[in-house]
């Protein structure tokens, strides 16, 4: 498995290409605005995108979806049945599936948006906007903030410390670093668990 990272200037979002080195097929995670730069990036790596994982349907992360599907025949995985005019293969919490020969687990973490999903491939966590290096995703209400932190605590922070966090914006991190330095857990109970 090979992972490539592309920085999209539209919304300063991260796009990932996860290549299966045996089949030469690839999963695209969150196709932001589809530009010549992104096309060159995908073509330059020599993989054929056959699947798209959408962490959430905010424009900064899916704006390139329609154009990408005009070029590549790929199945789109999302917690929504449709994104715009694009029909998706709906994924549910804790569902495991195989995309391009890679085993993927979907973890539902609503809060930043109701449809937020974290995808786990081995020790890689594609967290979208739910979890960034040092920060938790922005939410519209205190209820959303509490819900997001609770979901992250139960489903994401319980992963191994050396799991790699690949967020929708900003630099990468690890679960071990996020447990210690994320501002979202600054208020901590005496037993070490986050206070929401």
């Amino acid at each position: 498995m090979t992972v490539f990272f592309h920085y999209s200037l539209y919304g300063f979002a991260n796009v990932y290409l996860v290549g299966n080195d045996e089949t030469r097929e690839a999963v695209v995670v969150d196709p932001a605005a589809f530009t010549i730069g992104l096309l060159d990036f995908i073509e330059g790596k020599g993989y054929t995108p056959k699947a798209v994982l959408v962490t959430h349907s905010h424009a900064h992360h899916v704006d390139g979806l329609r154009t990408l599907l005009r070029i590549y025949d790929a199945e789109v995985y999302s917690s929504n049945a449709m994104i715009g005019e694009v029909k998706c293969r709906t994924v549910r919490d804790a569902e495991r599936f195989v995309a391009c020969g890679l085993e993927v687990e979907a973890l539902s973490v609503p809060g930043h948006s109701p449809d937020s999903i974290v995808y786990r491939i081995e020790k890689l966590l594609f967290t979208g906007d739910a979890l960034h290096a040092g920060l938790v995703g922005k939410t519209a209400s205190q209820y959303g903030s509490r819900l997001l932190k609770e979901q992250l605590s139960r489903k994401v922070l319980n992963q191994d410390d050396d799991c790699i966090v690949l967020p929708g914006h900003g630099p990468p991190s690890t679960i071990g670093a996020e447990k210690l330095y994320n501002l979202g857990w600054r208020a901590v109970r005496a037993d070490g668990t986050p206070r929401y």
């Binding site: 992972v3 081995e122 191994d160 929708g168 900003g170 990468p172 670093a177 330095y181």
Partner: protein
């Protein structure tokens, strides 16, 4: 990416070192493994998908090499020269670096979170899109570097200089600053509090 093969010791959840069946904690002779790993790295100008987590490296000159998707997490680095190296998606989190030279490097999309830096130079480097959350620096310098979109959240700086750095979109939210210089750096373009978040 390096292979995520689990260490063979029952109940150990760490990833095995590249070319070995065990993690650094469960290797029979970690210093021999580190020597062999250092030889592997020295033999090539481009190093890909190597997991050297938790090993100790001392007195190495790795100047000018390119590293892609490698992990040096939790390593102990002493007198190691990475001068002019290129790093892409590499992990140095929780490493302890003493008297190492990272000057003139081009590091993008790397994590140094939780690292301890003592007498380290990052001068004249491209440090774009990197994670320095929770780092503790002493007697170190980032002078004349581009820190665009990098993060320094809950970091502790002591006798550390950021002279003439590009801080655009950089998150600078340290928890401790003693004897730190930001002279000639565009601190007004940095994100100094979470209230400025747009994402």
């Amino acid at each position: 990416m390096y292979d995520f093969i689990r260490c063979e010791v029952p109940d150990c959840r760490a990833t095995a070192l590249t070319g070995y069946s065990f993690c650094a904690d469960h290797c029979h002779d970690p210093s021999a493994v580190a020597a062999s790993m250092a030889a592997l790295i020295r033999s090539s100008s481009s190093v890909r998908s190597v997991n050297a987590s938790g090993l100790r490296f001392e007195g190495l000159d790795l100047s000018g090499k390119s590293f892609y998707a490698c992990s040096f997490s939790g390593t102990v680095l002493k007198n190691v020269a990475f001068t002019g190296c290129t790093f892409r998606m590499c992990f140095f989190d929780f490493c302890s670096a003493d008297s190492c030279d990272f000057s003139g490097i081009d590091a993008q999309f790397c994590s140094f979170a939780g690292a301890r830096f003592l007498n380290i130079s990052f001068e004249r480097s491209e440090l774009v899109h990197n994670n320095f959350d929770g780092v503790r620096t002493n007697d170190s310098t980032f002078n004349n570097s581009d820190l665009y979109n990098s993060r320094f959240i809950q970091s502790e700086f002591e006798k550390t200089d950021f002279v003439d750095c590009n801080l655009k979109r950089a998150f600078i939210i340290p928890s401790k600053e003693i004897d730190v210089s930001w002279r000639l750096s565009n601190t007004q373009e940095a994100i100094l509090g979470v209230d400025r978040l747009e994402e």
